[in-house]
Point group: D2
Chain length 268, copies 4
Amino acid sequence: MAKPIEEGDYVRLWASNKKGDSFLIRIAKGGSLGSRMGAVRHDDVLAAGFGGEVLSTKGERFFVVRPTVSDFCRKIHRVTQVVYPKDAGVLLTSLDIRPGASVLECGSGSGGMTVFLAHFVGPGGRVYSYDVREDHQKVAMDNCRRWGVDDRVLFKVADVEETGFQERDLDALFLDVRCPWKIVEPAVSALAPGGRLAVLVPTVNQVEMVLESLREAGCADLVVTETSQRNWKTNPKRLRPEDSMVAHTGFMVFASTLKEGVAPDEYW
Amino acid sequence: MAKPIEEGDYVRLWASNKKGDSFLIRIAKGGSLGSRMGAVRHDDVLAAGFGGEVLSTKGERFFVVRPTVSDFCRKIHRVTQVVYPKDAGVLLTSLDIRPGASVLECGSGSGGMTVFLAHFVGPGGRVYSYDVREDHQKVAMDNCRRWGVDDRVLFKVADVEETGFQERDLDALFLDVRCPWKIVEPAVSALAPGGRLAVLVPTVNQVEMVLESLREAGCADLVVTETSQRNWKTNPKRLRPEDSMVAHTGFMVFASTLKEGVAPDEYW
Amino acid sequence: MAKPIEEGDYVRLWASNKKGDSFLIRIAKGGSLGSRMGAVRHDDVLAAGFGGEVLSTKGERFFVVRPTVSDFCRKIHRVTQVVYPKDAGVLLTSLDIRPGASVLECGSGSGGMTVFLAHFVGPGGRVYSYDVREDHQKVAMDNCRRWGVDDRVLFKVADVEETGFQERDLDALFLDVRCPWKIVEPAVSALAPGGRLAVLVPTVNQVEMVLESLREAGCADLVVTETSQRNWKTNPKRLRPEDSMVAHTGFMVFASTLKEGVAPDEYW
Amino acid sequence: MAKPIEEGDYVRLWASNKKGDSFLIRIAKGGSLGSRMGAVRHDDVLAAGFGGEVLSTKGERFFVVRPTVSDFCRKIHRVTQVVYPKDAGVLLTSLDIRPGASVLECGSGSGGMTVFLAHFVGPGGRVYSYDVREDHQKVAMDNCRRWGVDDRVLFKVADVEETGFQERDLDALFLDVRCPWKIVEPAVSALAPGGRLAVLVPTVNQVEMVLESLREAGCADLVVTETSQRNWKTNPKRLRPEDSMVAHTGFMVFASTLKEGVAPDEYW
């Protein structure tokens, strides 16, 4: 890990001020970051290295921090809502996105989750990313390229309600579309028996529809869950939670697929 | 993924009943699972394969589901409190436990988090796991072996308050001990500059001590957070959250390390 | 308040032990409370008075605490689910259950909420409590009598879907029945214009139906809310939340009524 | 309740728009409310009455709703942080603020909680409100007068750490000051044995201090709690929680007092 910062790398500049200001930048020789706290020269960041510090033109100190994939996804160029880190963690563990896994997502959106999945399956894994909108997918592609994980992602433009998925025997599948119940059947077909399926939807009306379709498709082990994360202020003498928090991003529905012809008699 | 079940593999048997009964078993030819719902022969499970079904001696149907690493960790042989899936997800993303990463954890406990870390760094990664108690660590080792990830884990018995850590330039480091503030300094030394540090503690008194020590050590980007997860009942006609939930597991504190001699003037 | 304990009063006996054991008893001369911690004589409690202590036959110390109406409702004889204190507080403030108010509830259930409402409207207020089941209502009546608030409660057995409510110009109205949307119209008629209406339902499917009916009835100021309460362990040296908590009791829907013929054009 | 609106009354004007705009006004003949949605004449509101509607000069419809005491407290003239409705509800039930009760609060702040307490003890109850700052208390007094509950409130300017409280045998006592642990002893003396004590503090460091002081004072039945409330959007076709919520207001600590000389041997 102790490799130096290189051109094209992302770094995060963190200021130890009250607001905890933080900027994600992609290093370009001769480049400069402008902010209300003054300008920072990229060449200074390169010279400082990870864990070092740089001064802005206004004399403000910035600390050079290695960004995680969450930091990147929170600040990517976006055309759609991106998956929140709190949900991404649960999706990773519940879908078991391990090194080498083969995963399909529908739709690509701005590529936030695509980057996440590609990051965690690693160079030996594979991500298939479908979207009906080519313009969105171009943004997703670009974000994968920027984070350096585009080598393991295959993008496909398709109206899946019409075409279904081409893949078979996948480990995991993630649906992030408006009407996921309309493509639960092709999703089940694309997964290996015992594969893991996840659906993310914002409203309870959609959860109802998804559950109905998973029951009809004969899936096992249905789970509906929602997560929340509460950050605390970090002054140890006045320790207390932040004043406000995210109240809702979406509901996640999980299931395991069964072999064709195998299905529970009844659900509870 | 469509590989068949083999001897020594873990499978989960899920019953579509009101309680959502589920059993994690390790397949041994000739073996048998006994439960109040009757006995299930392992040979039947082998024959059914993932996504298949088996009948117990009492005629109850079980569905053969592929267990995730979370399923495994929830049911491992344990001598200490294990890290919950809801927290494991946030730890994975905030510590950026990607394929190939080098991670240190202290202490091993029952190995729940060791298995998690080893699972997600993959065969190309490395986990260093310290504990002061050899007997606990044997349980952790055994759990890693059962899940097939012991090849990438190096266990060390040591009283780290005395000896410090031997590693340097690590990507990430996770402290899960009673008095983590006593080993924040060696933790910072073991990480590469800009590396990610996480601490898990159950009480706010401990959070206070950890924050003090991270400020003294000159760390950047301090974050204190707690997560919660609420599951819902899965009947789409009567959709509602479960009646009770886990209220608390622990508080997580995150930081990025800086180069020696670099430190914020002030914290907020 | 410094009045002594009298026969027929409720007191709470609190033991300063790890489980925080606590017993609600109604004082009867010559009576006795049996528990695994030994027997406590009611006469001893009378002699000790509020804030005093008594010894059980096993030598355990109990402290005599004045019970709140919440303590009473949590331990009443019940034939149905009772409203939780966390929800009761929000209902009180959102329905504005002030001294002297006139409130209607449907249905009575075990009378937990009836007691709450009657307690907080005081002797100058009035509670009308409807239920279709006479047997349930007898339990509710009995609980009101025990808490000494039956003088201000009028119980009515009726199938409100058939009969509607007889009252008019009420301040507040609370619906706690299976299909509240079927009686939103009579509820609105029973309230004074600008009156406050609250509905408690466990499932989101019911919330959907209630919202539809409130929109159709032309109500104003619709609010859907859910509350949660997390208790902490009380050791100041190891301060942390309890391990588990109530995840869900019900969703509350609030509205204000408008004059007949007045209604919003549109809802959002 | 069906009494008409009078000069000096508060009303709430609610617009059925996307933001759910709502204005609290105090009716003055000839008065006018200006907003970006146009001006509304108070005389029109008087004519419309509760449950009626008025048109602004820009043709926007407003509905005339009866404000609850929570509505009032949320919008009062304030010089300090006010208690949130979600906490006020729990305080009311846990302190048992019933009609006729005698309650003491320290300090008055902007009078939000003073108004709440005075509203719910009713004309037969009594609120003693202490504050060290006369200027704050004048705001509190003024808010009580506006809501019409000043007849039952006695304000006292005092430095309670020096002077203690003059009252004895109170039903309930509420501490909302920076260092409540310094006045726990006088608080216990002012309460009747078995009386209810509540403390509201924003940080866990303060909770620790309060718990220490309640243990030293020999109080019974210690409870630490925090509440949260999540509102949902009210479109039944797209039912989902709001995007953001209040994450923290304060921790509440409750206790019951015992007779002088009576105290638990040990706490857990």
